[in-house]
Amino acid sequence: MAIKIVKNFFKRIFSGIFQNKKEVKLGFYGPPNAGKTSLANRICKDFTGEEIGSVSKIPHETREVQFKEKVEIEYKGKSLTFKMVDTPGIATKVDYEDFLKYKVNKKDAKIRAKEATQGIIESIRWLDDMDMVVVVLDATENPYNQVNITLIGNIVARKIPILIVANKSDLRKANVKKIEEAFPEYTVIGMSAKYGKNLEEFYEEVFKLSKKSK
């Protein structure tokens, strides 16, 4: 018995010393179709060679929280290990008829809508577990959407460090400045997850922000 206690004591001490660095839980949040999975895929592919999930033009493609553990990001000689958490897009309404426009049949559209509502609940519930959150917004859309404001207000209320990405900056309609004006208290990075534009600036900010994480 005594040997076991001593053994466990040393095990705990040594695992504390030699254990890999703590994983930072990095959540990708935002409204549907903003490019959360595209951005998470881009990062995961760069550092692990694997993607995190599938992307589609049809809203609510991600309907379950999906994650990739032990993603080691190296930037300017520094390295941090992340647990990347890609979440379903948050919305205040889900109508199966909206999916019919994308030639999804009625039965599948209804299933998609049901899964989407469950995904939104799951997204919100995961928020408490995050060390840092990247809010991905579509730079071609109006940023003064209540979902964006509610989401950012909640992340701030939970004291989670936040970074805003104005995605799809490669598109002509994109207006990164409007997002900066809407959220002047936060760092906003205009980028294109699709083409990997401004990834360096993104990593720089993520590393800066990780120092503030709990």
Binding site: T92, K93, V94, D95, A113, L127, N142, Y144, T150, N154
Partner: protein
């Protein structure tokens, strides 16, 4: 004649309910959300004096999602908050927060909540809010 009736129906298709903050001030979060959703289920557009707490706003979204598919013809809500905190200087914001903590709620804010079957979209930019209704 038919056209006239249809036009009348459209105008009668929605109703607005105003609610002073005093109605929810002493309720807990669960009761507040229940009260808000009950009004929305009756197809009213609710104009609430003040605003819900950030965690209540997300809870409202969660409960809304849980109701889709369980309440007939319910597709969700449209929500907008016009806050006195928007676009003000840091000093004004600080002053507002002191006023909020003294009065127990952000009375300068207005929350608009409507069922998605009635309210198609709430278009918002810093200077104006437009309520787009479904036909």
């Amino acid at each position: 004649m038919v056209k006239k009736i249809q036009k009348q129906k459209r105008i009668n298709g929605f109703a607005i309910r105003f609610m002073p903050y005093s109605e929810i001030k002493n309720l807990n979060s669960t009761q507040r959300i229940k009260k808000v959703l009950e009004i929305v289920f009756e197809n009213y557009i609710l104009i609430l004096q003040g605003r819900l707490k950030p965690e209540e706003e997300t809870r409202l979204i969660e409960d809304t999602m849980a109701m889709i598919g369980h309440v007939k013809n319910f597709k969700g809500i449209e929500l907008a908050v016009i806050s006195s905190d928007d676009k003000t200087s840091t000093i004004d914001r600080l002053r507002n927060r002191i006023a909020i903590s003294l009065s127990g709620g952000d009375l300068g804010a207005v929350t608009i909540i409507g069922p998605a079957s009635v309210v198609k979209e709430i278009k918002r930019d810093p200077k104006k809010i437009e309520l787009m209704l479904n036909k």
